[in-house]
Structures are given as structure tokens and as C-alpha cells.
Symmetry: C2
Subunit: 738 residues, 2 copies
């Protein structure tokens, strides 16, 4: 007995010594394989997973083996042998509790009957398998329960493995499965706005994770962790460099560095993309022009692209920001965006690369409503782009505001595949200090009906290519990843990275489903934790809209760094960079008239939408001030006047943050101390800043409304002058060098 | 038996589940309490440490308790109770194996006889105790072996606890101790060149760890880890901000942030200091002048300083860079450095603060040898500074070059306490990619004999105040800490942070002793690892001198970013920012004549030194080209010509790096894989860059020497043109915004 106790003692020591000082820092994201504490559940999974057969070969297969072994070791606390073999053997004898992962070919299942060959449902499902998809089917053979997981590619098997692990991480059933998963979009990308000096434009989680200076000599282990996290949510490409592009990334010096990163990402089925600076032929090639129709220019790009493929054989292609915000482009040479894009696309086509050409353009000279310009420029180009070009369109017509109506280009270019550009990094949504779950915003956009082909022509159907049967489709998210230990600064900003990947894979998932699985994997399966915290996530975006830009207000933030409120901003390099240009507040009312009597931006939408948005009566109040300029006394659905409603919304936003705090405080003890405290401190900052937004904006607009803030509300603590004087010169994401 | 096995199995599971995925990333620095694997040793320590009595109170005492409990849990794998009580009880009954930590008062030992009162040696030693010191004495009472550890302050107890833990970490004897430790310098500081935008001037380990934007709302747990690491090596102060100062850090907005950091550092006996921008009264106060003799200006500073102490009651004081490299200062108003420093010092004196006034000055107009200017300006001011001012002098007269002779100011200002400024960050020593152990360089400087009061007047005796019995003394290191996970970028750069602290505490320690204890704590006590790797460290600095700037060459690096070789740099904002200004290579020879026939900088040293340096015959060859301009055919001690010797040194430097690689490769398997691979990749980069330095410099100087590179050496792989064309615009530490 004493001997026994001593063993238990030693055991405890191991735990102590080996776990001492490993504080929870969020680095592991949602990829946590902590042992299941519910004994019953644990036993269930143990009996369901006795051994794993992994049939296939290639680098990804090795990764799957690793991942599954670690996963089982962690989750079940026992070693489950993963037996790798290529193809099938005629007599696979399968014990009870065997999981079979297998790469199959186009013809379906090359396996013996007892590997599912005898199951018509499997044959039928496997016929529907797309290249990156996978299917899972629980079967019973001779009384043995077996789970078959089939895919057509290494990527598919990789995704299926993470899916399988997720089922256990989130305590789902794995014994009665019948799953067919195919990605809804082909190109699921992150866009890094990372510069060669390691600053990140609109990055709020520290320096860039790309240590350019040390590459290729030193390859940070973090690149592999990055690849793994992305693969686990189905992201299959990443643009390494900023859209405000630097030609140097195309020099051999940098291509060597890029190749080193690509080598780490490749086994995780992630391709590397770059941003192409349109003037590179001049800057690097010493040519006199970058005219896309110029022979030398075309040759320069062809040669350069061939060179890139020598470094990165599976290079994905280019993301291009041209003739926008000072970036060079084809228009400098009186050529169209299509002519510019096609030049690159042609040279890339030889290698299977693509061009993602951004529609985010607004010209310097034109003083047309900025919201209209992208449509005006690109609609006429429909049909003029090569097949391997996608036009990448932001969710809304301005610029990633807390709330915008969907972009009028969606549905307006039937002959052109449009790629969605969401912004994961919270440039206008509280940086890395506000808890704002963005899936709600993205779903709102994806489910918006364009009526392009009548009712049901949602933005999602444009993006996934189904509306106009496009053969390529894609969704991109502007990354919020930085060198901060927890990757994204705010622990909950991880959920936005996660959600982007999940929605790119399947836009039919609800924001609640995504929040639920993310919370379970990232924090805990404890329902006392999940329920209230999921609520926080689901109303967090509406809260931010309320305390920042309610009722369709937009672009009223601080200038340059975009931090904090700045409705008073009336001086900038261009009129449409000011706030007054957008809110147009005066003694009569507030809002941007975009109807016939104004800029008539509504006319860019299909009739039913135009009519709905065009009439203040039918226009959803959340977009009222986006499209209209009502009087301060305009009566809202609530019966309140516009001014009262504005006050109501701003105060509501702040009280919602207080609600977030209460709910979060109740979670104390249900998760690790470190992340609990981290989020708690950030929520305190969020409350402070929400109050700053509310007070600054209401005091500012009050100058025009001339009406009092209803007395049921607490008085703003500071004066308007106080808020105007606040100086946030060193706010991150907008590095200002002395 | 099966039951037993199952327990062992469970045990193994715990290890697996709890240790899975915790890869070694270097974050723990030298503070590792991994269980001792040598069973005999383990038993020895276990028997020596049964319980710990901790007598005293205060925040530091709580930290000591934590630290000792974690330490024992980790190192011995068993819980050793730490019993905290204030003062002593008359009848302390001490069992065998008790460790007593006690804070005692000036009068010595308030404890009962069995707490050492009866031991004259202890009474005697404790009388010698300085405020931050500690003593350790093993005694035997009634057959019980007891270790008494006494200190006069919380700081002293804190230092003694880390010392005690270090003895066990490094496998030293703890049963027969008789130790008296007092710090040799009073102010042991880090200087952070960190900017409010989180960039770090000359920082090579990522962003600043100070997350200004989120402070004070979010206080990163990293600040505590930072404080703990510094306290463990006796550092008792830190200057948070860059010497190229930004006045905004003195605004209430930032003082609130600074207070939050100070609150975390305080329990670790670390004071916060700031850099004072001399023109702040104009920039913040709206005054017309910053003239230090102007009444309003003096009042402004007094009020500002009183305000600072409201935020940080134990604020340490100011570090000031004035009238240097564009920084404003008293000379803008025809006032002396002393008048500027004294103004601040007077206001700080009321609160016990100090001023550290940098001697790193060289004027724009003067075209005097830059090496002479600090001396010329400051020597005449000796005796003019207030008592709470220290003049902070860099180790050499130029600027942290791989090798410089000691600064002539050392010993030249008998009436002024001189503080040493070393540079931990490797601005001129390979950034965070070269393994260069700097203790060798610092010891070389500290042990240099100034002959100020005859032989034995070493720089160390100036710095510790003993030569001229100063009542304050100090040593500062320009920090190499950044947001990189392992703090310093290069795993071995941690040793330089460590060494700075150790030398500030006790400059008589040898570089080998410091390397030995750092290696044991940071990596392993395995002598097969220690011996060769210690060798690497000890010759690493000489290697870097050889492949960068042998024989007294200096300041021939790339312009601006200071990365890589740039002997050809002949254009810069000022002549003494070029390389040609320093190496002066021509057909006749190479080197800067600083004798009578030249700038006569040698005359700034005391006679014996002047004579030694002044004559090429007696001048150490390592300084030859610093002080002389010999012919290319000048005969060196080796019998080689100067040109041949130059080639020899450069090639030697590269071969030394190869030697480092061989020795390191032999360490594979003796330490964790992660850090082994990390260092291995960085050594490969170091070799590449060493070859780049060698080839670029020799090919460049060969233009003047007109002599061949002796054929026993491999030919440079690139041409001079090739090396001149290399462009490292985005080299870190010199952030260049677009």
C-alpha cells in the first residue's frame, strides 16, 4: 500500500514538475486536445476509437498521422495507433472501433467490400465528392462498428481529420455519422497587409509574423503553427504581402524568402500568393512604362512570373490593388482594369495561377459619391476579364464600416466571378481591444438578396458561383494575425479568423453554430460557460454598431489611425476622407441622401432593392442615414424622433457592453484565469471607448439637432471640446515614424 | 500487479496529456526549475531543504514565498512548506534541514541565539551588509544543519532567494555556505530605446514589450515576467523610453500608463525611470523657451516632476540625451550640460530622484575628431554637477563598436560619479542573428587601467565609485528585449541581458563564471554540453571583431541600419557618419592617426596610457588602426605585413564561426530540439554574414593596398560591386516607413 501511495505521489510530482509555469496564453487557438473530463463520454470515445487506418501517401498524410496521434493522446489520454498504408489490401480485416481514413480516386472506392464497397450510399455519396471534400459514414460489418472517412485528395483527408477531431473536441456523436462535406468556395484566402519592414497596415496584434530579415536562413516554427491553424478551418491560400504593394517582394532576394514560407505551408494544402505592384516593370525592370499593352512590359511580367514559379512551383497568383489610393495601375496608361488584369492573368495561366483584382477604387479627380465609383468603373468591364481573373469586392460600397449595405456590384457582373473581401482585422471595429464577433456582420451581407435573378439571388449565391454558374469562386479575409503571443491580440478576435475560414468553406453555417464550436474548442464545453458567452458574441456586433455608427451612419472615425470617434473631421487630403462628407449633419437633419434627390446610389441596385432602400418608409432603419437625410424630428418605428432614436441607440450600445461585462464576469472560474482576466480587462477598455464614442458623437451632433439628450440618460462625462482634444497619435496599425 | 501497471499507465498519461504540445521556446530564460535528474544530488538537496522559514513582511516577501515554493516544487519535485512570519520568536525551534530567510534591521540580528545570535562570524558579516546585500551562513545547532540567510531589505531577501535557487539550479553545494554579497554598483539599470509607437530603435527582437496603446486598461502578464527576470540578476531600475525622447511620455495620458507598469515592477524592487526631452516645456508647456535658468522653465519642470511622483511615488529619475544627434539641450540657450542637468536634478532631489546625463555628444559644427568631443565638453564640467547627477558614459569614445579602447573620460572626472553605459542590443554586432557573448567585451573595458591614480585605477574602480569614493554609482545596459517570444531574438542574446545584470552587481566576476552559470540555468548542467558551448561563448566576441573590424578598425558598417559591411560609405549627413572618415585607407596605408601627428586623441588619456597607445610599437595591435595609420607593409608581431595580417584576421574570424558551428552541432541531443535547431540556423546565417563582411572589406581595402589576398585563402565568392549593390533597406532596428 505504501508502495502504491508512493507511486501516486510520484505521479502527482510529474504533473507538478511538468506543468509548472505553463500559463494559458491563447497560443493554441482552437486546436486544443485536452483530455475529456466527463468519464462516461471519455469511455464512449475510447471504445469508438480503437485503431486508425490511414490509407494514402504524401506529406499531408504524414501530418494527418501526427495530428490524429496527438489528438487522441490528448483527448482520450491514450495512444491510438495510426497505421499508414497506401491503397487498400483485398482483405482489410477491420475490428470494432476502427476509423478508416482513405484517399480514393475519381472512380469511387477502390476498396474491398468490407471497406464499404458494398454500401450503395457510400458509392453514391463518394460520387458527389469534390476534390477538397470528404465524406464520413458509420457502418457495421459483421457486428463491427467502423467509421469510413473518404476523400479524393491529401487536402480532403487533412480537412476530414480536423473535422473528426473537432467532433470529439466539441463532444459530438461519432458512432452514427453520415456526412458529406464539400467547400462552397474554391479560393479561401487570408490577405495579409504585411510590409517588408514587419509593420502591418491596420494590424493590431503586433509586428508581422513574417520575419523577412531572417528568412530564408531562419524559418520560424510559428509558420507551421500558422499553416496548421488555417488548414484546420479549410483556408487554402494566403497573400503574404500588403495590397499597398512593395515591388521588392518580387526580387530574387525576397522570392527566396517567400519560397521558404511556401515550403512550410505546402504540406498543409496552403498556396502562397503575392501582391503585384503594377509599376514593378519600371521600378525593378528599368522600363520606361508599365503599360499593360506594351510588349516589353508583357515580356517582363511573363519572365518575372516564370521566375516566381521556379521558386514556388505551386505559386497561387496575384492580388492587385490598382489605381486606388495612390497605387499605380493600368489607368495611368489609359488602359482599363481588365487590360491590366488580363496581362498578368495570361502569364499566370501557363502555371495555373490566378489574378484577384480588387474593385476597391475611387478616383482622385471625380467628385462622384465614393459609394458609387467601384460599380461605375467595373460594371462596364463585365465579360472583359480572362477566366482566371476574379474581381475581389468588399462586402460594402465604402470601406469595412461597422455596418454597410451590401455592395451593388454583387449580382451586377454576371460574366465575372466576384470574390468576397471581408476584413477580419478590426480597423473600424475597436481594433484588438473590442470584443466584436464578425460572423454576424458577414452573414448579414451573404444573406442579403440582390434580386439579380429575382428573389433568392443572395450575395452568397454570387460568391459561391452558383447564381451565374461560375467555375471559380472565392472568399478572402484581411488578416488580423500578428506576432502577439495569442496571434490576434484579443482572445475573441481568434473567433473571427476561425469564422472566416468556416464561412468560406460553408456560408450556410449560422453565426451561432460557428460561435458554438469555436467556444467549445477554444475554451470549454461547459454549458454554463457556453450559453451566456455565446450570447455575448452574437449581440457584440450590434453593440458596436450602436455605440459607433447607428442607423446607417458611417465613416465618422478619427482620421488616419481610424481610432475613436471623429465626426468633426472636416479637413483631409480629399473630401471623401472627412467625416462631414458622410454624415452631412445640419440644422435640418442628418444623413447622406443617396436617392434620386441626392447621389442616387440606390439606382445601382436591382429594382426591388432600389425601391426598398430608396424610400425612407421601406428602408430598413439600420440603413436610414446611409441612404437618406431625414429631419431631426422624423418619426421612427419606435415612435421616437430621429434625434431621440439616435440617443437611444448610442446609449443602448453602451448598456450592451455593460451586459457583456456582467455575462463575462459570471464565467469566472469556468475557464483558465489568464484568459478570463485578459478578456475582463479588455471589456473594461471597450466600455470606456464605447462611452467615448457615444458622448463624442451625441455632443457633436447635438450642435446641429439643437435638442437635448433625453434626461433619462446619464450626462456625458466630458465636453465636446474634451473629446476633440484627445490625441491618439500612436494608435496602432498606422505606424507613424518620427 | 495489473492494478499497479494501470497506475503507472495513468501516470504516463498525465505526462502525455499535460505536456503535449508545450514546445521549448526560450521564454523561461534562465529561470528554469526543472526537476534534478541526478538521483544522488536530488536526495542530497531534499535532505538539505526540509522546510523554509521566511521572516519578514511586504510584497517582495510574498514574491519570495511564491518563487521558493515553485522552485522547490520544480527542482526537487516536492512541496517544501515556506512558513512566513514577521520578525523572530524567542524560541525558534529549528529542525535539521531548515532554511531561514530573514530581514534584519541595522543593529544586526534580532533573533534568538539559535537563530545565529551566538555566532560571532554572523554578527560580524551582518555588520558589513549593505542595504541590498545578503549573507548566507550554514550553521549547526544541536546537531541540526541549518542555513541562515539574512538581508536588510525586501530587495536583499529577493536577491538572496534567487541566489539560493541558482545554487541548486547549477548544482552547487548548499550545506557549507559562508557568503556575503553586496552589489558593487547602486544603480543597475536597463535602458529601453522604445518609442510610443512600439518600435524599438536598434531593437532586433520585435516590437516593444510596452503595449502603450492598451495601457493602463490592459496590463500584460509579460511585465511581471520581465520584472522577475531582472530581479533575478539584481537589476533595480529600468528606463522605459528612448533617449531620442518624445515629450508625450510626460503627459498625464502616458503617466497613467507608466504608473501601471511601475506598479508591476515595484514589488520586484525595480524603479521606473524616463527620458526627459529637454524641450518639453516648449512642446507641452507652451513656453517660449526651455532655457534651464529661466524661472518659468524651472517651475514647469518642478511642477511636472511633482506630478510624476503623484503617479509613481518611487519614480527613479531621468535619463537625458541633450545636444546630441539633433536632440535639444541647454546649449541651445548657451547653457552648459551641468546647468541643464542641475535644473532637473534639483527638482528631482525633493523626491530622491536622480539624473543620468549622457556624455554621448558630438557637435554638428565642430570638425574635431568625434572621439575627442565628449571629453572636451565634459572634463571642464567636473565638479559642476549636483550630487544626484551621474554622467553616463559609453564604454568607448565612438559608439558601441565591436572593439573600442576605453573612454578617456573614465578617471578624468574625479568630482563626478560616472555611470557606465554598455549596449546589450547588438547594433554593431550582428543584430539578433549573431552569437556574440558581450561579457568579454565589457570585462575588457572594466579591467582597462586608466592610471588616473597610478596603476590599478581600472575603469571598474571608477564605475563602482571606489577610486574617488563616490556615494552613488551605476551601470546601465541598452536593452535587447523585445516582444519576440524568447525576449531577445537570439537564444544566446539572453546571456548578454543576464551578464549585464551580473556585472552591474559584481564586476569582479569573470566572463567564464557568468557564462557557466547562465548555461547551466538556461540549458543544462551536462558537462559535455557546457564545456564546448562555453568555449563558443568565450571566443565569440573575438570572432566578430575579426570578421567585422579587426586591428582597431571601427565604424565601417552599412549606413543608417548599420547592418552588414559598408567601408565604402563616403556620403552621409555629416562626415563623421561615413566610413572613410574612420578607416582613412589610401595607397600608403590604413587607420586613423590619433597621435600628435593626427587628431592627438591619445592626449586625452593619462600619461602611461597615452604613451602606450601613442606609439605603434607599444600600442596593442587590437587598437593599432584606431590610433595609427601604418603602411600596408608595416611589420606586425606575427611577422606578417599589415595587409597580410588584415587578411589573416578576417579569414580567422570566418573560420572561428565554422568552429562555433562544429562545436554546436556536437551538442545535438544534449538539449531540447527547438533551441538546438534555432541556434543552428542562426549560426548558418552568421557564417554567411561573416563571409560577407570579410569579402566586402578585403575587396574594398585591396583597392588601396594593391596587394593580393594570400593564396592560401579561398577566393571571395562575390565581387566588390556585388557586395556594394546588396540592399538591406528593411533591416530591423531602423524602421523605415513608406
Amino acid at each position: 500500500m505504501r508502495f502504491l501511495l508512493s507511486i501516486i505521489f510520484v505521479q502527482i510530482l510529474y504533473i507538478i514538475t511538468c506543468c509548472v509555469a505553463t500559463a494559458e496564453d491563447g497560443y493554441d487557438l482552437w486546436l486544443r486536445y485536452n483530455k475529456i473530463t466527463d468519464q462516461q463520454l471519455l469511455e464512449h470515445y475510447k471504445s469508438a476509437v480503437h485503431r486508425i487506418e490511414l490509407k494514402g501517401s504524401g506529406p499531408a498524410v504524414q501530418i494527418v498521422k501526427e495530428e490524429l496521434e496527438n489528438g487522441m493522446k490528448g483527448l482520450l489520454g491514450q495512444i491510438v495507433p495510426v497505421n499508414v498504408s497506401s491503397g487498400s489490401s483485398k482483405n482489410d480485416t477491420l475490428q470494432n472501433g476502427t476509423i478508416v481514413f482513405a484517399i480514393i480516386d475519381e472512380n469511387g472506392i477502390p476498396f474491398s467490400d468490407n471497406l464499404g464497397g458494398g454500401f450503395p450510399e457510400i458509392r453514391e455519396k463518394s460520387a458527389k465528392l469534390k476534390d477538397e471534400g470528404f465524406l464520413m459514414k458509420s457502418i457495421e460489418i459483421q457486428g463491427n462498428n467502423i467509421l469510413l472517412i473518404f476523400a479524393k485528395s491529401e487536402a480532403g483527408i487533412l480537412y476530414s481529420a480536423f473535422h473528426f477531431l473537432k467532433l470529439i473536441q466539441t463532444h459530438q456523436n461519432i458512432t452514427d455519422l453520415s456526412v458529406l462535406e464539400n467547400p462552397k468556395t474554391d479560393y479561401r484566402l487570408l490577405n495579409h497587409w504585411d510590409n517588408p519592414d514587419r509593420t502591418v497596415e491596420r494590424g493590431y496584434a503586433g509586428f508581422s509574423i513574417w520575419e523577412w530579415h531572417k528568412l530564408p536562413g531562419y524559418v520560424s516554427p510559428r509558420y507551421k503553427d500558422y499553416a496548421r491553424a488555417n488548414a484546420s478551418v479549410g483556408i487554402n491560400g494566403t497573400v503574404l504581402t500588403n495590397v499597398n504593394a512593395n515591388a521588392r517582394v518580387l526580387t530574387p532576394q525576397y522570392l527566396g524568402k517567400i519560397a521558404a514560407i511556401a515550403d512550410v505551408l505546402r504540406p498543409y494544402a496552403i498556396k502562397v500568393y503575392l501582391t503585384a505592384r503594377f509599376s514593378a516593370p519600371v521600378e525593378l525592370g528599368g522600363l520606361k512604362t508599365a503599360d499593360p499593352l506594351n510588349k516589353e512590359v508583357r515580356n517582363w511580367w511573363k519572365t518575372k512570373i516564370d521566375e516566381i514559379y521556379k521558386y514556388v512551383p505551386d505559386f497561387g497568383g496575384f492580388l492587385v490593388k490598382a489605381n486606388s489610393e495612390g497605387q499605380p495601375g493600368p489607368q495611368n496608361y489609359e488602359r482599363s482594369h481588365a487590360e491590366g488584369a488580363n496581362m498578368l492573368a495570361e502569364a499566370l495561366d501557363n502555371h495555373g495561377g490566378i489574378v484577384m483584382w480588387r474593385a476597391f477604387v475611387y478616383s482622385f479627380d471625380e467628385n462622384e459619391d465614393r459609394a458609387k465609383q467601384a460599380y461605375n468603373e467595373f460594371k462596364p468591364l463585365d465579360g472583359k476579364f480572362r477566366d482566371n481573373v476574379m474581381v475581389q469586392v468588399k462586402n460594402g460600397p465604402i470601406d469595412f464600416q461597422p455596418r454597410e449595405p451590401f455592395h451593388p456590384l454583387f449580382g451586377a457582373m454576371p460574366k465575372t466571378p466576384l470574390m468576397m473581401e471581408f476584413q477580419i482585422t478590426q480597423e473600424y471595429l475597436g481594433f484588438a481591444t473590442h470584443l466584436v464577433y464578425l460572423a454576424s456582420m458577414w452573414k448579414e451581407c451573404l444573406e442579403s438578396d440582390t434580386y439579380a435573378k429575382g428573389e433568392g439571388s443572395t450575395v452568397a449565391t454570387v460568391i459561391d458561383g452558383s447564381l451565374y454558374n461560375k467555375n471559380i469562386s472565392g472568399m478572402a479575409g484581411v488578416s488580423n494575425i500578428g506576432a502577439d503571443r495569442n496571434w490576434t491580440g484579443h482572445p475573441f478576435a481568434q473567433s473571427n479568423w476561425y469564422a472566416l475560414g468556416r464561412l468560406a468553406w460553408d456560408h450556410t453555417l449560422t453565426e451561432a453554430e460557428i460561435a458554438d464550436e469555436w467556444l467549445r474548442m477554444t475554451f470549454s464545453n461547459n454549458k454554463d460557460f457556453i450559453a451566456p458567452v455565446k450570447e455575448i458574441m452574437l449581440f457584440s456586433r450590434e453593440a458596436s454598431v450602436n455605440y459607433m455608427t447607428p442607423l446607417g451612419l458611417h465613416h465618422i472615425m478619427g482620421e488616419g489611425h481610424h481610432y475613436g470617434p471623429g465626426p468633426w473631421v472636416d479637413q483631409a487630403a480629399r473630401e471623401d476622407w472627412t467625416s462631414v462628407y458622410y454624415h452631412r449633419a445640419d440644422e435640418n437633419g442628418i444623413g447622406f441622401d443617396r436617392t434620386k434627390t441626392g447621389s442616387n446610389a440606390v439606382s445601382q441596385y436591382y429594382k426591388p432593392v432600389e425601391e426598398k432602400f430608396g424610400d425612407p418608409g421601406s428602408c430598413p432603419e439600420k440603413f436610414l442615414l446611409w441612404f437618406h437625410h431625414p429631419d431631426w424630428d422624423y418619426t421612427m418605428n419606435s415612435g421616437r424622433t430621429l434625434w431621440e432614436e439616435l440617443c437611444h441607440k448610442y446609449y443602448k450600445g453602451v448598456s450592451m457592453v455593460r451586459d457583456m461585462q456582467e455575462k463575462w464576469n459570471a464565467a469566472e472560474g469556468l475557464i483558465d484565469r489568464e484568459r478570463f482576466v485578459h478578456v475582463k480587462s479588455l471589456l473594461a477598455i471597450q466600455l470606456e471607448e464605447a462611452e467615448m464614442w457615444r458622448n463624442a458623437c451625441l455632443l457633436y451632433f447635438q450642435q446641429f439637432s439643437g435638442r437635448p439628450i433625453p434626461k433619462q440618460y446619464e450626462k456625458p462625462s466630458g465636453s465636446l471640446e474634451f473629446y476633440k482634444k484627445l490625441d491618439f497619435r500612436y494608435a496602432p496599425g498606422n505606424l507613424h515614424c518620427e
